[in-house]
Structures are given as structure tokens and as C-alpha cells.
């Protein structure tokens, strides 16, 4: 029996997003959607962990964290009382090249939430005792993350592919936390976090006129400063294969990652690269998944993904596999990469991967918050204005030859980094067949 044919496809339009700009430079974005009495508010700064000074990678994160730890009007406890009283789902994070404060709450709390946001970003006081509390809390998290194999593999990949470049900065260290001073945190906040290059997104039952009015009322007084334009150097060229083994005693599996450098953000070829990634390891029908899991049973799942930054991006492919097939799993991964150089995707495979990307894009249009997140992402990655309104036809226009070209350019099994987190005794010798192996401990030190 054959599968039923689809019905007539319904058109989907990328929603209109309204933008305005306040006198202080703050850009206000509004994704109006009256479906639910709930608002997502996000304040985004183009300042990420790569913007930390070389000698201390904790400053940007501490600056973000401490905005809610005391202001001219409220203590840290009063702020957390208010967040919970208003039932605000509060989140903030620092990524590679940007950082954000996100708040989701019921529509009736809109003004109260904005008032709180304004208080925290306009008048943070960075109290010394709050800094000390965060130092203790975070130190434990830094210790605990070193017991997670995914973190260890990832950290070593970034250090290997980006060497001393700011993009190598995955995490601060306990020493950075210990050495930080209140003044240095305050200084980085005042010099880098400014309305002039920030975005404030409203997603929910708020029209653009109201969003602009509210922005003006609550954040119009925020003067900020002229933020310096920071240009990162070009990352080093990767011209060989690096193999790093992180010795994690008592491991009962091997967590491996294979990664190489790709395109910088905003590159016109980035959509073609996305299709190539879908083919390699983009989901449960991809070549890596079918090979390592469905054919060989080496793993619960094998995937690849892309990350892109202003100066350079990377692909990462990997899995957590049976220890005794560590080498075979990595070899199969490299083989899949190489095969894509010579063996173009079939018609069906290409169509499937294109459709996966389109489907994922459509699902992101289900909530105003995820539409807003896409729009912020477009701006932060310098993508053209019509990037999303033309996304579907662009994905459909990708052909096999261009996918193969991407694979030849970037899936180069001789120029990449391989990291394995495992019990050294069980895998070191055989990993030597891939090349020279450097061994590290879970503290990241070369053994």
C-alpha cells in the first residue's frame, strides 16, 4: 500500500516585523500577535564572551548577572521578590558575540516588567557582597561542568580550532572569578552595554506604536555611551588534523567530536552549507545517524551541527559511542564527510534535507517569541533584510553540485580537530592510527 498524497499546501508568510529607533539609539522591534495575553521581552546587546579582556573571561557574564543584583532603587532580594511576584520567567545569558536578558510574563504585567528591566539596566550598582555571592555560586558550577563529557569535548574543540583567538573562549575559570573586582565589572558594563547598539524586542499582544511609546517611557532616559567598535583578527588557518584525547577516568563510553572551520556569518553560501549539514548529520534520517546508530548500533545518536560567528564558523559532528568502537566511529564519520565530496546526494535525499530546513523554519513561526528570536538572529548575524521572507525559495533552489562544493571546501578530513573524552587506557593506542594524539586531563591541562 502506498502512502497517501499530501493535500494542497497552504501558504505561509513571514510576519511583518515593525522597527523603530529611540533617540538614544535603542532599536525597538515588535512582533505583534494577539493570540495569548502573554509577552516576551528581550533586550539584546552585541557583547559576548569573546569581548572579555584576555586575562579575565568572567567580566561580561558577571556584568549581565549583576544587573539584577541591586540598583539605586532595589536590593537583589527585592528584585528577585518582584520577578517571582509578577511571575516573570526571567533568563539571561552571554553567548559568543552577544548577550541578552529575556522576560516572559502575562500581558497585565507589561509595564511593571519594563519598569523592572529599566531599573536593572539603567541603574545597576554592582554591590560588592552580591559579587562575592555570585563568585562562590559560579565557582561550583565551573567545577561541576568539568564532569560532563560534552563540555570537555566542546571546550577542547574550540581551543584547538581557534587557538588564542577570542572565539576559543568557551568558559571562564575559577581563577578568573577569584581575581575579578567590582570596579572591573562595573567598568565593562558602563563601557560596552549601551542602548546605542542594543535591541529591545516585544513579542505578543503589543503593537509597534505601543512598543515604541513604552520603550521611550521606560528606557528613553538611558544615555549609555559610545561603544567601541571591536574587530577580531582573522582566526588562525587550520592546515592539519589535530587529535586530542581528554582522559576522563571511569568513563564507560567515548564522547567524540569532529570539527572544522566553515563560513563566517552572513556568507551567501550559508544556506547551502546548512543543506550539506542536514545530509551529513542533521537528524534521524541523516547519513551519520543511519550509519552509526541504525546500521551499526554504536550509539544512541550521531549528529552534526553548525555554528557561525562574525569572522568564522565551524561544523561539529559527533556522538557518544561504545568505547571499543571509538576509532571505528570516528573513521566512519570521516568517511561520511569524504564521501560527500564524491557522491552527491540523491534527488530524494536533497529534497528531504531541503524540506527539513523549511519545516523547521515554519515551526519557528508558531510563536511570536520564536519569530522575534529569528529576527534578532538575522540582525546579529548581519543577514540581509529579505533573508527570511525569501528563505523557503532559496532553500529549494540549492542544487546537488553546490552541496558537493560545500563538502569539498569544509568537510576536509585532513584539516580539522578531533576530540575524544574517554578513559585513556582504553582508547589512546588505537587513536594513534589517526595521527599524533595529545592527551589532556579533565582540568584541560596537557598531560
Amino acid at each position: 500500500m502506498k502512502a497517501p498524497e499530501p493535500a494542497t499546501e497552504k501558504n505561509i508568510r513571514y510576519p511583518a516585523i515593525q522597527e523603530s529607533r529611540l533617540e538614544n539609539g535603542l532599536r525597538i522591534l515588535a512582533v505583534q500577535d494577539d493570540h495569548l495575553p502573554r509577552v516576551f521581552l528581550s533586550l539584546v546587546f552585541p557583547v559576548g564572551r569573546a569581548f572579555n579582556p584576555d586575562d579575565n573571561l568572567s567580566l561580561v557574564s558577571l556584568a549581565m548577572e549583576l544587573t539584577k543584583s541591586g540598583t539605586g532603587n532595589r536590593s537583589a532580594s527585592e528584585i528577585s521578590d518582584l520577578i517571582d511576584q509578577l511571575a516573570i520567567d526571567y533568563d539571561s545569558d552571554v553567548l559568543m558575540e552577544h548577550s541578552f536578558i529575556g522576560m516572559t510574563f502575562l500581558e497585565k504585567e507589561l509595564e511593571a516588567a519594563l519598569g523592572l528591566l529599566a531599573d536593572t539596566v539603567l541603574e545597576p550598582t554592582f554591590p560588592q557582597e552580591e559579587l562575592e555571592k555570585v563568585q562562590i555560586r559560579w565557582k561550583s558550577h565551573l567545577i561541576a561542568q568539568r564532569s560532563q563529557p560534552e563540555f570537555l569535548a566542546n571546550e577542547r574543540i574550540f581551543k584547538t580550532l581557534y587557538e588564542n583567538h577570542p572565539y576559543s573562549r568557551i568558559s571562564m575559570t575559577p581563577e578568573h572569578l577569584e581575581q575579578v573586582t567590582r570596579d572591573s565589572v562595573k567598568n565593562i558594563y558602563q563601557s560596552r552595554f549601551s542602548p546605542s547598539d542594543a535591541y529591545l524586542l516585544f513579542a505578543g499582544p503589543v503593537d509597534s506604536v505601543t512598543a515604541t511609546d513604552l520603550g521611550n517611557r521606560f528606557l528613553g532616559e538611558w544615555a549609555g555611551t559610545e561603544t567601541p567598535v571591536i574587530r577580531f583578527p582573522e582566526p588562525p588557518v587550520i592546515d592539519q588534523r589535530f587529535i586530542c584525547l581528554i582522559h576522563r577516568p571511569h568513563s564507560v563510553q567515548s564522547q567524540f567530536l569532529v570539527a572544522g572551520r566553515t563560513l563566517p556569518q552572513g556568507d551567501p553560501d550559508s544556506i547551502t552549507l546548512k543543506v550539506a549539514n542536514q545530509i551529513l548529520g542533521g537528524g534521524g534520517s541523516s547519513r551519520l545517524f543511519l550509519n552509526l546508530r541504525e546500521d551499526k548500533g554504536y550509539t544512541y545518536g550521531a549528529y552534526s551541527r553548525l555554528k557561525s560567528y562574525r569572522n568564522a564558523g565551524l561544523f561539529l559532528a559527533g556522538a557518544s559511542v561504545k568505547t571499543e568502537v571509538t576509532l571505528e566511529s570516528i573513521e566512519e564519520t570521516l568517511k561520511e564527510m569524504d564521501q560527500l565530496h564524491e557522491q552527491p546526494p540523491g534527488d530524494e535525499e536533497l529534497a528531504r534535507c531541503q524540506q527539513e530546513l523549511i519545516g523547521s523554519f515554519i515551526r519557528q513561526m508558531e510563536t511570536p517569541a520564536s519569530v522575534g528570536a529569528l529576527e534578532l538572529d538575522r540582525r546579529l548575524h548581519d543577514l540581509p533584510e529579505n533573508f527570511y521572507s525569501t528563505f523557503i525559495p532559496k532553500v529549494r533552489s540549492i542544487n546537488k553540485e553546490s552541496v558537493v562544493e560545500m563538502a569539498r571546501r569544509f568537510y576536509d578530513s585532513q584539516r580539522l580537530a578531533i576530540t575524544v573524552v574517554a578513559d585513556r587506557e582504553k582508547v589512546e593506542k588505537e587513536l594513534g592510527r589517526l595521527g599524533e594524539v595529545r592527551v589532556f586531563d579533565t582540568d584541560g591541562e596537557l598531560v
Binding site: 499530501p6 505561509i12 502575562l106 543511519l290 546508530r293 541504525e294
Partner: protein
């Protein structure tokens, strides 16, 4: 007061016993198709642990008209997403597809409900995959083995005590025939609930369900495992060493009644008071004020039957485990003696309102909630009046539930000691 929008739905029952739930909305041309079977790990018997979950993997290994892995590729070709999950009380399979592919999803689900076509080779392949899943999710992770051990220690009834993922010795001995029998016993229309949520414009959902599922015989019957848990009369304590952990942790739990009981609502509200947000009692005291712990997770474990009220904490390096256990006990003692304040309760209510409004953000969420009420309460309509039960909770209800549940002899404690200096 915010008006929480009702979730509109239709409910139908096919002659063969299939329950059909339908939620229609036109915001976006997406439809979520979800099928829930009334079988989970609590339906297993000793010696057969992990079979419900291993079987879930089999449902992707081929049926009469669909080859191994073709289920996923059909949905991927349509631009959809798919997966499945197994809990202690049920197993579900779902697809979110562009609406014009609704019939494809129904056809795929119907095909694997009525026919399983798994080869020995594919069965073996998934056995290995599940063993690796266990290692990745538990054995190779800090606190993974403690997580599995804890419910074994706390529950006396094997139904909830044993892990969903199963014991390796059981996983290793299953045969293809076990899978075939499992399918025959539990996978049929009379044991399933089908939910369609999304843009169903111009579609007669009942007619579609009839078309794909209506001709199946109902060879299954509903099973009801005994979930009864004896009253715990003395505290249980155990310590385990975890070579993968770097910080100590404590698993603490108290037996409490089932989902939907008065205690369930009272203690769900209490969990918000003590652990939701940085102003909550436990966060404020144990993290903000005294930095005794690094993280915490508190609340009922959401099983359908007898639940555990969980308190999990990861402890700061230089802090003594006994001190944390003692301080948690003092907080619980306070809860047994004094009602929570009106201000605390109001805050929790605001958080509950916020959560209930958020239920309608995605069609997939609506579908899974409808199934939740249908399967666990046999009352889908409860989806629209459950909020009232949370809002009706009073400080006295919380006090009474705390007195009944947080009894010293009702406590199970698992202490996890981190690795020493053997590296």
C-alpha cells in the same frame, strides 16, 4: 484576574475502542498528531524491565508498508518532526507536520499499530542502541546511577521502583518474539488515544480517523498494573560513591498520594513556594543567603499513581552533607508547623496563572496535555477546570499535606559521595 483561555476540543470513540481527541486552530498550517498507548514501564513484570522502552524503538524498525527508518524519512520529507517517549505510565509517538500532510501521519501511525515487521537484525541493532542510550543518559554521567538507584530504594512496589530504561541483564536476553508479543498485547486501537491538534480546516477528523484506524480489530484489552505502595514505616538511607561526580548530592523523597489527589495539588503549590525562583524559601536560604548548595530540584515526580515528593540538591564542595540534610529537615518541620503566608501563596498563584496561559503556545503542547488528562484522569474535560483545583489550595491544605507527607519515617535518603583523589 486574567482569563485563562479554555482549550476547545472534541472527543470521539471509534467502535474498536480508539479514543480520538481533536483541537482545531488556524494560526499556522501545522498539525500535531500524537498517539498514546496505555503502557509504560509500570506495566512490565520482574525479569522484563525496559521492554516498553525497547519496544518503542521497534516501532521505527518497520511495519507492513513502511521499511526500517522509513517512518522518519517520510515525515522528514514532509518537513515534519517526529519522535517517541516512554514513561512509567504510557508510551507516546508523535509527528508535527505541515497540515497538508495530516493523512501521511495517520497512515504511518495506523500501519505500525496494526502490523509490526521487525527483522532479527534490526531487533539486535536497537538492543545495542538502547544499551548505549542507557550509558549516555546514566552510566557515563555524574549522578546517573544514583538517579536510577533512588527510585528502586524509595518504592517497594516493583512497578515504579525499576528503571524505565531497564536492567542490562534483562535487555540482553529479549528475543524478537518478546517484541512481537508485546505489540500484540498492548498495541491496538482499544488501548490507544489519538490526538489531532492544529489547522484542520476542511477536514472531518472523525472521518479521517475512521478511514485509517476504523477497520482495525480491537485485539487488545486495557491493563491496570497494581501501583499500590505500602505505607513506609521507617526511614531508608543509603550512600553511594560516584566516581564521575565532583560534588556531593542528596536525593531525598517522601511518599505521597497519586496524581490528582488533594495532596498532589497542595504539594505542587508548595513546591512553587519553596523552590520556584530566587525568592523561594529554599533558593533564598540554601543558595542566596548561605551558599550551602549549588542547585536544587523540588516537587512531585508526576507519576500517575503513588508519587514521590522529591528534593534533590547538589552540595557545595566544602559544605557537610549532614548539615544540608539537617537544614532541609528544619525547613520541612516549619512547613509541618506553620501555614505558608498569604503572600507566598499569592505569588505561587500568579505563577500558576502564567503557566496555564502558556499551555496554548504550541499545538504540540495542547495535544500532549489533552492526552495527559484523557489517560491519567479518564476525563479530558478536566483540562479546563484543573486550574481551579490549584487555585483552591489554602495554606491549611498545604499544612495538612505537609504533616501527612513530610513524616520522618516516610523519608528516603540517598547520599552521593563524589570521587576522591584517585585521578
Amino acid at each position: 484576574m486574567v482569563k485563562v483561555p479554555d482549550i476547545e476540543f472534541e472527543e470521539h470513540h471509534l467502535e474498536n475502542g480508539l479514543q480520538l481527541l481533536v483541537h482545531h486552530q488556524t494560526r499556522i498550517p501545522l498539525t500535531h498528531v500524537s498517539i498514546h498507548y496505555r503502557v509504560g514501564s509500570s506495566y512490565e513484570t520482574p525479569g522484563f524491565s525496559g521492554l516498553a522502552h525497547l519496544f518503542e524503538h521497534m516501532m521505527f524498525q518497520g511495519s507492513e508498508n513502511v521499511a526500517k527508518n522509513q517512518h522518519g524519512s517520510y515525515i522528514d520529507n514532509a518537513g515534519g518532526r517526529w519522535n517517541a517517549t516512554t514513561s512509567k505510565d504510557r508510551t507516546n509517538y508523535y509527528e508535527t507536520v505541515p497540515s497538508h500532510y495530516l493523512e501521511l501521519a495517520l497512515w504511518l501511525e495506523a500501519d505500525r499499530m496494526q502490523s509490526l515487521k521487525v527483522t532479527l537484525e534490526n531487533f539486535e541493532n536497537q538492543r545495542q542502541t538502547v544499551i548505549e542510550e542507557k550509558k549516555q543518559s546514566y552510566d557515563n554521567r555524574p549522578y546517573g546511577l544514583a538517579t536510577l538507584r533512588f527510585e528502586e530504594l524509595a518504592y517497594e512496589n516493583w512497578a515504579y521502583a525499576h528503571p524505565i530504561i531497564g536492567f542490562i541483564e534483562d535487555l540482553e536476553k529479549y528475543t524478537l518474539e518478546d517484541a512481537v508479543n508485546f505489540h500484540r498485547t498492548f498495541y491496538g486501537p482499544g488501548n490507544a488515544t489519538l490526538v489531532l491538534a492544529g489547522d484542520l480546516t476542511g477536514i472531518d477528523a472523525l472521518e479521517q480517523a475512521q478511514k485509517y484506524f476504523g477497520n482495525m480489530d480491537n485485539h487488545t484489552r486495557r491493563h491496570s498494573p497494581s501501583l499500590e505502595e505500602p505505607r513506609q514505616t521507617s526511614e531508608k538511607v543509603e550512600t553511594i560513591q560516584d566516581p564521575l561526580a565532583v560534588l556531593p548530592a542528596v536525593y531525598m523523597a517522601y511518599h505521597m498520594p497519586e496524581l490528582g489527589s488533594p495532596e498532589y495539588y497542595a504539594l505542587s503549590v508548595l513546591a512553587l513556594v519553596v523552590s520556584h525562583g530566587e525568592s523561594s524559601r529554599f533558593y533564598r536560604k540554601f543558595i542566596y543567603d548561605h551558599n550551602l548548595i549549588t542547585s536544587l530540584s523540588v516537587g512531585p515526580n508526576q507519576n500517575k499513581g503513588p508519587q514521590l515528593f522529591y528534593i534533590w540538591v547538589q552540595i557545595q564542595k566544602e559544605i557537610k552533607v549532614d548539615q544540608v540534610v539537617q537544614e532541609v529537615e528544619e525547613e520541612l518541620k516549619l512547613l509541618r508547623e506553620e501555614p505558608v503566608s498569604e503572600a507566598e501563596l499569592e505569588r505561587a498563584r500568579n505563577q500558576i496563572f502564567y503557566r496555564f496561559v502558556g499551555r496554548l503556545t504550541k499545538v504540540s503542547r495542547v495535544a500532549e496535555l489533552l492526552a495527559h488528562y484523557a489517560l491519567f484522569f479518564d476525563d479530558t474535560g478536566r483540562i479546563n477546570n484543573d486550574l481551579d483545583r490549584y487555585l483552591a489550595v489554602t495554606p491549611e491544605d498545604i499544612l495538612e499535606a505537609s504533616r501527612n507527607v513530610f513524616r520522618p519515617e516516610n523519608r528516603t535518603l540517598l547520599l552521593v559521595e563524589p570521587r576522591t583523589t584517585d585521578i
